[in-house]
């Protein structure tokens, strides 16, 4: 079958992305740095760094360590606080005419609700992504990410104040991720993004101490990809809301693996640190893959690893 053009568009709730690639929160800052390398309007959407109600300085250094096939990070949600994010970071993104997803973090349900409410005053937010899975901050929301009941509570509370779609970002550091996914879906989540980083540690043999100042850090990169693909595969079959799949995507083939596992869209994280052009290269690679394989719409591949052949 010959295909002349590929329909790359996907939908996350009511939002149309012109292609399935977004950026993973925390791996793209607020976009400015990457705008020096390419026109951000090629992205399916942009997901910016986590925002909290107050400014946060983050953790002491070292904050990153390279590990086999990946890296550990413990940045600690450094951000200028929601007021400055709204005033200084988000407005410049409008010119790219792509959906802007803002990651929201906090320590209490009230924190999440307050940040979300404040974001609703901005015209520059198309969806909120609820970070209930940051492993690097004490009470950084991770407790909401490991208990289905608390995850549902925070999702419901945010849904009540948000006029834009609510995406809940799940932690892989749980016994049963399907239970977490079902709980946030039942609580009204419009989409799920998964996975956040896996909690890890690396030890400096000379100092006999953890290499990262925070002790533990979040593992990302190609090393976590099989875990993320497996979880996406399981969750996609258990929920009916769209999934933004992520975890170690470096190439278009990696992205297609997530889509075949059941993700509707994908997010590119660590790859941006290695190759600032990772996102546009992956988008082009997905298009080329579809052309080469006679696939008219990227949506035809969604869940292909488990859906019955038509």
């Amino acid at each position: 079958m010959t295909v002349r053009d590929v329909d790359m568009s996907v939908r996350i709730g009511p939002i149309t992305m012109k292609n399935p690639v977004t950026t993973a929160s925390g791996c793209f800052g607020f976009g400015k740095e990457f705008a020096d390398f390419y026109d951000l309007s090629v992205l399916g959407s942009i997901t910016v760094k986590a925002t909290t109600i107050e400014p946060r300085l983050g953790n002491p250094t070292p904050r990153v360590a390279e590990t086999p096939g990946g890296m550990l990070n413990a940045i600690g949600l450094q951000n200028p606080g929601v007021e400055l994010v709204i005033a200084q970071e988000l407005p410049h993104l409008r010119r790219y005419e792509i959906p802007v997803f803002v990651n929201v973090a906090g320590t209490t349900v009230e924190d999440y609700v307050d940040v979300t409410k404040r974001l609703m005053d901005s015209e520059d937010v198309d969806a909120v992504e609820v970070n209930i899975s940051c492993p690097n901050v004490k009470c950084g929301g991770i407790q909401f990410g490991t208990d289905p009941l608390q995850a549902a509570q925070v999702t419901e509370a945010i849904k009540r104040v948000s006029r834009v779609p609510v995406i809940v970002k799940l932690s892989p550091n749980v016994t049963d991720i399907v239970a977490m996914a079902k709980a946030v879906e039942a609580a009204g989540a419009d989409a799920i993004s998964m996975i956040n980083t896996l909690v890890g540690m690396s030890i400096d043999l000379n100092k006999r101490r953890p290499l990262i100042a925070n002790g533990v850090g979040g593992l990302s990169g190609p090393a976590v990809k099989p875990v993320a693909v497996r979880m996406t595969y399981q969750v996609a079959q258990a929920v009916s809301i769209p999934i933004i799949g992520m975890g170690g995507i470096m190439t278009a083939e990696d992205a297609i693996e997530f889509i075949m596992a059941g993700a509707t869209a994908v997010a590119v994280g660590t790859a941006n640190f290695v190759n600032p052009l990772a996102c546009p290269e992956i988008i082009e690679g997905i298009r080329q893959y579809c052309l080469d394989h006679g696939i008219a719409s990227i949506r035809d591949l969604q869940g292909a690893a488990w859906k019955e052949l038509a």
Binding site: V64, E66, G69, M71, N73, N272, F273, V274
Partner: protein, 260 residues
């Protein structure tokens, strides 16, 4: 970002490597900037290594012929880099970051380098000399077997060497050379090296000579997005906050740097 061909690659002291590669097109740079280099195309060693620009052969822009760095082999990543041969290509991002600011009209500058902090002083000495500023280099090493670039720097002016064990030059630290008389002749200082050295230099120069410190920190992206390489700095409003070493630095005005 470019794939650049390796032109020279050799050991210049124990585990200290000199690496020169073809210059990227339309190269723009200032001394003190760094190159963010992938040590392998595979995913084993994912992150790039930030290595200071040492010397540019040619006149910049399209006229540049080669760009050189010097690095220390200190781990598995740099061990892989050491194995790259002349003629092979390297994936290089940059030059990145804010380099040293040159001030026209400066008559005399002190260039202070410690260990693997010495390389950026070479291109800096070149440019200062070109604008008519006399340079004196004060460089320090653990010992003679890891001393580098003394000869290169001597092309631009006097070089004062200190080693911890006294195997080359003065036994002691770079700050031991910083007499009141010497400081009185200097309009500016530029320093790059390990944190204890930078802290000592900052204290020695405080209130006497204005200058710049080039910092090192474990980096992720190198372009200011990941927030890994922050360092404490005095902000314009007087408060202390974090600046990004990769993007706001690696060179900072000396009084702005707040050491822990």
């Amino acid at each position: 970002m470019a794939r650049l061909t390796i032109l020279e690659h050799r050991e210049i002291a124990e585990n200290m490597m000199w690496l020169a590669f073809s210059a990227p097109q339309d190269l723009r740079y200032t001394p003190g900037q760094f190159l963010h280099i992938r040590v392998t195309d595979g995913v084993d060693h994912l992150l790039r290594r930030p290595i200071s620009l040492c010397y540019v052969q040619g006149e910049g822009g399209a006229k540049s012929q080669a760009i050189a760095v010097a690095y220390r082999v200190g781990g598995k990543g740099t061990e892989l880099l050491r194995k790259k041969k002349v003629g092979e290509e390297l994936d290089v991002l940059g030059p990145l970051g804010n380099g040293f600011t040159l001030h026209e009209g400066d008559r005399h500058a002190l260039l202070v380098g410690g260990g693997i902090g010495v390389p950026p002083m070479v291109e800096l000495a070149e440019q200062l000399t070109q604008q008519g500023t006399k340079v004196t280099s004060i460089i320090g090493f653990q010992s003679a077997n890891v001393a580098i670039l003394q000869e290169e720097l001597s092309r631009y002016g006097e070089v004062l060497v200190a080693t911890n064990d006294g195997s080359l030059g003065l036994q002691g630290f770079v700050t031991d050379y910083m007499t009141e008389e010497l400081l009185a002749t200097a309009d500016r200082f530029y320093a790059c090296g390990p944190t204890p050295m930078l802290r000592a230099v900052q204290a020695k120069m405080d209130g006497k000579v204005e200058g710049y410190l080039s910092l090192e920190e474990r980096m992720g992206c190198g372009i200011g997005a990941c927030m890994a390489c922050v360092t404490s700095c005095r902000m314009d409003d007087g408060s202390v906050g974090y600046k990004k070493v990769c993007k706001d630095g690696p060179v900072f005005s000396a009084p702005k740097v707040v050491f822990a």
